[in-house]
């Protein structure tokens, strides 16, 4: 029976070619507008470390000004001080712990005539790669001992490795940065988390850093952070030493806690640590530590721009207008087909049979609208890419995955069926003989 209805549907669509094309176009444009924004939002809100979401926690301690919270109403600072980061790393109470920050360094490639260039380098403790499941092409990261000893080692991303050393395994080669040699111990495989969940400060869509070095080495070399630095009171002493001993926050800290019990134990440990520090005259505010999963942390930092939500609301309304248009067109078709319908009813077609036939036809229009809608979404994304051309990371935000393609078709079919309900109901309530009489 379905086959017969499909055939009828195709025939009817062919018979009303222009009207059907209009309906498909209306649905496609609505879906295109909606899905363009939904896709951008989907990528922006994506959690690249979804599979470990329940085990990773971002650490916040409230060491802020007693008179003024870091952020209203009572948010703890989004980064930690050097004092706390190193103390917690040293305590080693979590399964894994990562403290890191980014810093601008000048890379001096080998060979004459190749100009030195500046690059953002991530200085991190050893667990970074294991904790965030970072894949390696060659070699591996460094271990905690190497980190403690301040060994001059480095890990490169594949593009950086190719730029500096060509395609061959570069582990063991030397890289000059700020006139200091670093031994390459590992090269990452393709790894491009967007947003960079481990550091949401500044621009989280730029992608991960291309060079990684041990944390302690960076501190020994007195590297400054090129990310956010905030202080609620001035460092007591000047210089880098004074900065390290200050209440300024500039380090991102994550811990891996495999079970719920681990998490609770670690939260208790943090509370104890802060209480202990209070004895020393630090942490003037009430206890306000926080452990957030990557998901919670991204929501807290409002990774998805308000603008996108405004556009999403408007694009949904846009789809509504397109569907109202479709309903109008379908209604016109029903009225035109009145005599047809009443004839079929008079010949014995049941209301249910008519309903099934028209719903199949609407479904066909929905599928066509969905497929065309994918094309419209692609066009929409190209448009977004175009108006944001000055952002070099925009390409990462305008990619469609299969999930989005599927959602586009599904949304189109649901919209078409929803739009068809009232016109079909009107069609089914045409009485068998009414139109015949006029003829």
């Amino acid at each position: 029976m379905l086959r017969y209805y499909l055939k009828l549907g195709i025939l009817s669509i062919r018979a009303n070619w222009a009207l059907s094309a209009l309906m498909v176009a209306a649905i496609a444009i609505g879906i295109g507008a909606c899905m363009t924004i939904v896709t951008v939002r989907h990528v922006m809100a994506d959690n690249p470390i979804d599979h470990k979401n329940e085990q990773l926690f971002h650490v916040q301690l409230d060491n802020w000004n007693p008179n003024d919270p870091y952020e209203e109403p009572n948010e703890p600072p989004e980064q930690v001080t050097y004092l706390d980061a190193t103390a917690l790393l040293e305590a080693g109470r979590a399964h894994r712990q990562v403290i890191s920050f980014k810093s601008d360094r000048v890379v001096q490639p080998e060979g004459d005539g190749v100009l030195p260039f500046q690059e953002v380098v991530r200085a991190t403790s050893a667990d970074f790669f294991a904790m965030f499941d970072v894949p390696f092409r060659y070699g591996a990261g460094w271990d905690a001992a190497a980190d403690r000893a301040g060994e001059k080692v480095t890990v490169l991303s594949t593009p950086m490795h190719e730029q500096l050393f060509g395609g061959e395994d570069s582990t063991g080669r030397m890289l000059m940065m700020n006139n200091e040699p670093f031994r390459v111990v590992g090269v990452l495989d393709d790894w491009h988390p967007v947003p960079t969940f481990y550091d949401l400060n500044n621009n989280p869509y730029q992608g991960p850093e291309a060079i990684y070095t041990p944390f302690s080495l960076a501190v020994t070399g007195e590297w400054g952070s090129s990310g956010n630095n905030s202080c609620w009171k001035p460092p007591e002493d000047g210089g880098y030493e004074g900065y390290l001993a200050s209440e300024c926050i500039w380090i991102q800290m994550w811990v891996e806690l495999p079970t719920r019990a681990d998490k609770e134990a670690y939260a208790q440990f943090l509370d104890d640590y802060v209480m202990e520090q209070k004895q020393l005259g630090r942490f003037p505010r009430d206890l306000n530590n926080r452990l957030s999963t990557p998901e919670e942390w991204m929501v807290n930092r409002e990774v998805v721009d308000d603008t996108v939500s405004v556009l999403l609301a408007l694009s949904v309304l846009f789809l509504v207008v397109c569907l109202l248009n479709t309903i109008g067109l379908l209604l016109a078709r029903v009225i035109r087909r009145r005599s047809d319908i009443s004839l079929r009813r008079a010949l014995g077609a049941s209301k249910a049979a008519l309903f099934r036939q028209y719903i199949v036809e609407a479904g066909l229009i929905g599928v066509a609208g969905g497929l065309a809608g994918i094309g419209m979404t692609w066009l929409g994304l190209r448009g977004i890419e175009n108006v944001f051309a000055d952002y070099d990371f925009i390409q990462y935000l305008v990619t469609m995955d299969w999930q989005m393609v599927g959602l586009a078709v599904l949304l189109a079919i649901v919209s078409a069926l929803g739009a068809a309900l009232y016109p079909i109901w009107r069609a089914c309530s045409v009485s068998p003989a009414s139109t015949l009489r006029i003829q």
Binding site: L22, N65, V106, G328
Partner: protein, 406 residues
């Protein structure tokens, strides 16, 4: 013509008209809210940064070789000497940032010494020497520019702030809101306990963060900082900028090989980058408004055409009974006006509702009073234009149709 019969005829076939009215309503909702956002963003972009943007450019010098503090001071002095002596350069300064750059230094300042409180006021900091005012193209409207004696090098291991400052008028208003007199000579505290004596007030110099609510607040601080990373801002004579940029880049790259010159950029490009989001949003919303109006207009054309073809016989009869062509056209125009009116009334309510929600949720500005009336008039006109062609076709129906039986 009497509205009564038209209204009663519409009631006999409500669905189509209800759909168009709803479309008009939702379209109005989107159009006026989109327009409100466009207006707000365009207003942000139009703000003056204070800098002579057309003739100013900036770049950074990054040392990657270990230099002693004194060596770094010498290098900065040499650089500035070289730059300022290039023909076509109005002035140049070494600073930490500049307006629209999106990254910079902010501090809290307060009327009393002590830890920052909720009452302390945030301000952007630009470290400059006495050439800062001319390079940034700011006018000292009260007091004086820094004298060379007031400008000092920062000291190693000393976090104390200089005792002088030049503030924007906006910062002064925020600090002393009830004070109508001059801000010159007043004292405020920075870095908790360091007093700042205000020696001058300037008109406009934006903070580096265009999205910050306090973007009009900034302070010039007479301190020079010998760090590895130095930003130079250069103001050129009109028309000289594009010639000077490569010239100065090559000159400095050649003068010292222990550093790289990077981030060479015009203020025009800095502005473009700062407002990419706003500009893009304006374009996207503009596109949505046009497309949506078009779709709604097509819907109106569709319904009217359908009605014309369905009523062919009736129109023929009216013509045969003496109705003139203009009166047939007028019938459709009035019919459309009624549908539009209902849609636009509902739409106005929806638009206000959506605006209230968006103001709450996304802290947008409420719509200006005239946006909704303007939208109503515009969409009504669009409806009339859309219905004109089908109406003209209707008026061409021959009275003879009436005599034919179907």
């Amino acid at each position: 013509m009497d509205i009564g019969p038209i209204w009663r005829a519409m009631l006999r076939n409500k669905a189509g008209f209800v759909l168009i009215a709803l479309q008009v309503a939702v379209t109005l909702t989107i159009v006026v809210n989109a327009f409100g956002i466009i207006q707000e963003r365009a207003g942000r972009i139009a703000r003056d940064s204070g800098v002579d943007e057309a003739n100013t450019f900036a770049f950074a010098s990054v040392l990657f070789t270990d230099y002693e503090r004194e060596q770094r001071k010498v290098l900065i002095d040499e650089d500035l000497d070289l730059i300022r002596n290039v023909p076509g350069v109005v002035n140049a300064v070494a600073s930490n940032s500049f307006p629209l750059r999106q990254g910079g230094w902010s501090m809290g300042v307060a009327l009393e010494p002590g830890n920052q409180t909720p009452e302390s006021v945030g301000t952007a900091i630009y470290f400059v020497d006495e050439h800062g005012a001319e390079t940034f193209d700011v006018t000292v409207i009260d007091g004086k520019n820094f004298t060379p004696e007031q400008v000092t090098w920062s000291l190693e291991d000393d976090n104390t702030w200089p005792a002088y400052g030049i503030i924007t008028e906006a910062l002064g208003k925020e600090m002393w809101p009830d004070d109508a007199g001059s801000y010159v000579g007043k004292t405020m505290y920075i870095n908790d306990n360091d007093p700042v004596n205000i020696v001058g007030v300037i008109d406009t110099l934006q903070a580096p963060w265009e999205s910050w609510t306090g973007v009009e607040r900034s302070m010039l601080v007479p301190q020079r900082r010998p760090s590895e990373f130095v930003r130079y801002i250069v103001r050129a004579e009109p028309g000289m900028r594009d010639k000077l940029m490569p010239e100065i880049e090559a000159m400095l790259a050649a003068s010292n090989k222990d550093r790289i010159i990077r981030d060479m950029t015009t203020m025009d490009d800095v502005r473009k980058l700062a407002y990419v989001g706003d500009t893009a949003l304006i374009k996207i919303l503009g596109f949505i408004v046009v497309l949506l109006t078009l779709i709604t207009a097509l819907g109106i054309v569709g319904l009217a055409s359908f009605n014309v073809s369905r009523r062919t016989r009736q129109i023929g009869i009216r013509r045969a009974l003496g109705a003139t062509r203009p009166s047939i056209v007028r019938y459709f125009l009035i019919e459309n006006s009624i549908v539009s009116a209902i849609g636009l009334v509902v739409g106005s309510a929806l638009a206000i509702g959506l605006n209230i929600v968006m103001v709450e949720a996304f802290s947008l500005e409420p719509l200006a009073w005239y946006v909704i009336p303007a939208g109503v008039i515009a969409l009504w006109a669009v409806g009339q234009i859309a219905v004109a062609e089908p109406a003209r076709r209707a008026s061409n129906i021959s009275p003879a149709i009436a005599t034919r039986s179907s």
